[in-house]
Amino acid sequence: MKTKVLPKKLIFQNVGILDPVKETNKKGNVLLVNGKITEIGKFELPNDVITINAQGLILTHGFCDLHVHFREPGNEDKETLESGSRAALAGGFTRVCTMPNTNPPIDSPESISYIIEKSKDCPIYIHPIGAVTKGQAGVEISEMGLMKDMGAVAFSDDGLPIQNGLVMRKALEYSTMLGVPIINHAEDSCLRCDGLMNEGNISTRLGLPGNPSIAESIMVYRDLQLAEITGAMLHVPHVSTAASVKHIKEMKSINNNITAEVTPHHLFFIDKDLFNYNTDLKVAPPIRNDISRKALINGIIEGTIDCIATDHAPHTLQDKETTFDLAAFGMIGLESCFGIVKKVLVDDESLSLLNLVKLLTVSPRKIMGFNYDLLKVGVEAELVLFDPNENWIFEKKNVFSQSINSPFYGQELSGKIKYTVSKGYISQIS
């Protein structure tokens, strides 16, 4: 991957312009001058312009990921804001929201401004999510108002579910005056117990403690009901079970303030794939069975699930190269995301490319209240160009994260990111 400052004038020629807002896909040219879009479609080519012939490629909004872990501060051996940005660019992402479970956690206006300051020079837009509770301890709500003033876009204790229903209720109520979503990692810790993988016939065979689906869905159900009585915005992260999808669908029919995301890995793998105790597949919530996987896909197709989020969770080799019980939860996901969801949802299922792009662009931006109409003259260029037809094998050389904990190596993916334009930079991805 090569990242350069955008030339003064740059034109993408003969490109398929896929506008997920206007819902159009037309061939044409796109001119960027000083990092802004100045012409779209058919127009007279200016002088002194650098041209990229983008024949066969699709140009659309840069992707937006509501769920990444960039590990800074505290675990810079796993990822930094800088290295995470490179991983994002390689995956076509121009905007991400970082989870606050760093060390120390991002639970104060000072720590929010630390992330804002440190990410200023990064080549993508990084929005910090603040902790719902102080120290992510699940007891006292944090200074959400002050954090929002400093730039927090949402609140979450991700990784640590808010077990206490009263704390969750009070946090939701409090957030209504701020108008930002609460994102609760839904998992009842008592039902999860010491669960390490999905509870089912595979966990029984492997002798690994199971984490039952209901540990998630029971808390999703609680959160949905609390959202209803409080009127707060609730975003359900990394939905993994069929029952959760069912509850979300039901509640969405009467409450417009609920949104939900699914990760690429929950759409791709099933618990049978853990037969070899592969620690790269150890993740929270766990990889479920095929019934849940299919329910997630249907949830996307019928619109119950709003967006794709990677839950990019870098870990060092020694965190993963150990016995299954001790291995860390999580996997990286930014670089492989598009190729996976294009394959699973468009190639194997009936989703249109336009709807897939919406799941990665307009939908997540709407949830966070970001500007989502990006293919307009005068807008700062935040774009991705991909080849929708290229099949490629995901390998370590495709990874730009500081960590390499991915279970996708050797998998054939469909659709490849070629260029990402973000914050005045253009990255060419090989």
Partner: protein, 310 residues
């Protein structure tokens, strides 16, 4: 010798190899009855007993098997190791590998640890119990004991009674017995029998009296005291009443039911002393067969050629 390089578990271990191990174990059993109980089969072979979890009988059984085969053995247990200094499992294993050993007998609390070990060392690996996953040599010695008693395992009605969910002995026995053609029924509290276990080809019956009436042999599992008090088993007396192999239950049936137990026993809880010490209990035969079975496994994985066991 065997089609597999390691003995990680019985789930994916071929029936023919299991039968070969049992048949060879009977030959070694004969060695154990000699005045000089030693053969030179594994002379010059070095085996490490790598025990990351407390064990007395399994470790002694393996060590005896190695000594009877004239192998050189080294014992390594977690309490005396560098694990306490924070060294990773991988580093410990690679260090041992660097000392040029031929085989590792591994006992580890983590399910999958033996499989994990094969990823970074070349020695042959024998699983001596990995958490709640498998304990293949225990199942082999149990099957050998059944074959000794009944002549054949096929079509036997074998009950396994106890905490199935947390039992590696149960899992390995299920895989082995189902492969060998036995009928297997599990019995125990419903909250300790995963409902997906029937997919392994076994039946489940929570009524111990029906199970006793049905069974030719009962493998009684040890009830772990640490399972008490966390909502799994209310009390010892209730367990004994509902699932205990009591003298009264055994005497109620006319036929002779063979009783097995992997040890150590909680007398008066899962098994009455009168049953454990009765003629029909083959618990001590299991112990002796354990040494013979482990000799057979070691020999078939590490020996140079067939028939060389003089």
């Amino acid at each position: 010798m065997l089609t597999h390089k390691h003995l990680l578990g019985l789930e994916n271990f071929p029936k023919e190899d299991i039968q070969k191990i049992i048949d060879t174990a009977f030959n070694f059993r004969e060695v154990l009855d000699r005045p000089i109980k030693k053969v030179p089969s594994l002379q010059g072979i070095t085996v490490v007993n790598l025990f990351f979890e407390n064990s007395t009988r399994t470790r002694i059984s393996f060590e005896l098997a190695q000594k009877r085969l004239s192998a050189d053995t080294v014992n390594f247990s977690a309490s005396t190791s560098s694990l306490k200094k924070g060294e990773s499992f991988k580093d410990t294993a690679q260090n041992i590998e660097a000392m040029k050993i031929d085989a590792v007998v591994l006992r580890h609390p983590a399910p999958g640890a033996p499989k994990h070990l094969t990823e970074f060392i070349d020695a042959k690996i024998i699983n001596a119990g990995d958490g709640t996953h498998e304990h293949p040599t225990q199942a082999i010695l149990d099957m050998m004991s059944l074959q000794e008693k009944f002549g054949e395992i096929k079509d036997l009605n074998v009950a396994i009674v106890g905490d199935i969910e947390h039992s590696r002995v149960a899992r390995s026995n299920i895989y082995g017995l189902v492969k060998m053609g036995a009928n297997v029924t599990l019995c125990g509290p419903p909250n300790l029998i995963p409902n997906t276990i029937v997919e392994l080809g076994v039946g489940v019956n929570y009524n111990i009296d029906e199970v006793v009436e049905w069974a030719d042999a009962i493998n009684v599992l040890r009830i772990q005291k640490e399972r008490m008090g966390i909502g799994l088993i209310p009390s010892e007396r209730e367990y004994r009443k509902l699932f205990g192999i009591t003298e009264e239950r055994i005497k109620r049936n006319d036929k002779e039911i063979v009783i097995m137990h992997p040890g150590p026993m909680n007398r008066g809880v899962e098994i009455d002393s009168g049953v454990a010490d009765s003629e029909q209990a083959i618990i001590l035969d299991q112990v002796l067969n354990g040494v013979a079975s482990r000799m057979s496994v070691l020999y078939l994985l590490l020996g140079t050629k067939d028939g060389d066991m003089k």
